[in-house]
Symmetry: C2
Subunit: 148 residues, 2 copies
Amino acid sequence: MEKKFMKLAMKEAQKAFDKDEVPVGCVIVKEGKVIARGHNVRQKTQNALKHAEMIAIEKACKKVGSWRLEECDLYVTLEPCPMCAGACINARIKNIFFGAYDPKAGCCGTLYDLPSDKRFNHRPNVEGGILKEECAQMLSSFFKNKRK
Amino acid sequence: MEKKFMKLAMKEAQKAFDKDEVPVGCVIVKEGKVIARGHNVRQKTQNALKHAEMIAIEKACKKVGSWRLEECDLYVTLEPCPMCAGACINARIKNIFFGAYDPKAGCCGTLYDLPSDKRFNHRPNVEGGILKEECAQMLSSFFKNKRK
């Protein structure tokens, strides 16, 4: 785990924030290099699937030329939801590093711990809470502005 | 629930079968009409996200012009995996109707029952086992051929 990659994921989250989207950002790293980036664009695209992780995983598959991302680490500023945790399992992501915990939908330890379930045919390692204050701060600023 | 829609989902699954993909098919129905179809194309696209449900949900969002598919029912030949069950929750699908149960990754009652979890902000209704023998038959033919 390298904090510099979470900082890059936070830069992606800032792009979402600037578009008035829930600020979540993601980067995927292979052999020490960022190979894909993504940020949440659900509102802009009006597509329920366009979470940061999904966009980054799709790009990474294209880059690697395979649906198997076995040597890839995913950094995301918010704990993945069931869809995104499931996508990480399906794409065989090696390590999931997330920032803020998500008490409402987090499926990498909070509500469920899907990636650690031995019944699935792949188990990404998970480490949460990386730069969690900074990651959570961006989310709380966003929702505070929304309520104004 | 109308079985004719599961038969249309099976037609989609047949398209996957014919492309040498794991035969899973899906249709999304709104006000009695099919508004989106999808079949698994993970191998062809080398994209881990291209399950039948994901393709159909993306198309349905485009058709409806919204990420909210609140009046939509999803018919799929195999029980959704965590990613696809999560996508149904995120897209606010009204009813999930599935065919065969999936003992390896099913998250609509088998390994987990994600759509019924009250902690998420939407809960699709689920009915499984519709035309399950026919749906399962297509899958077992596929894997039998693979092992030859």
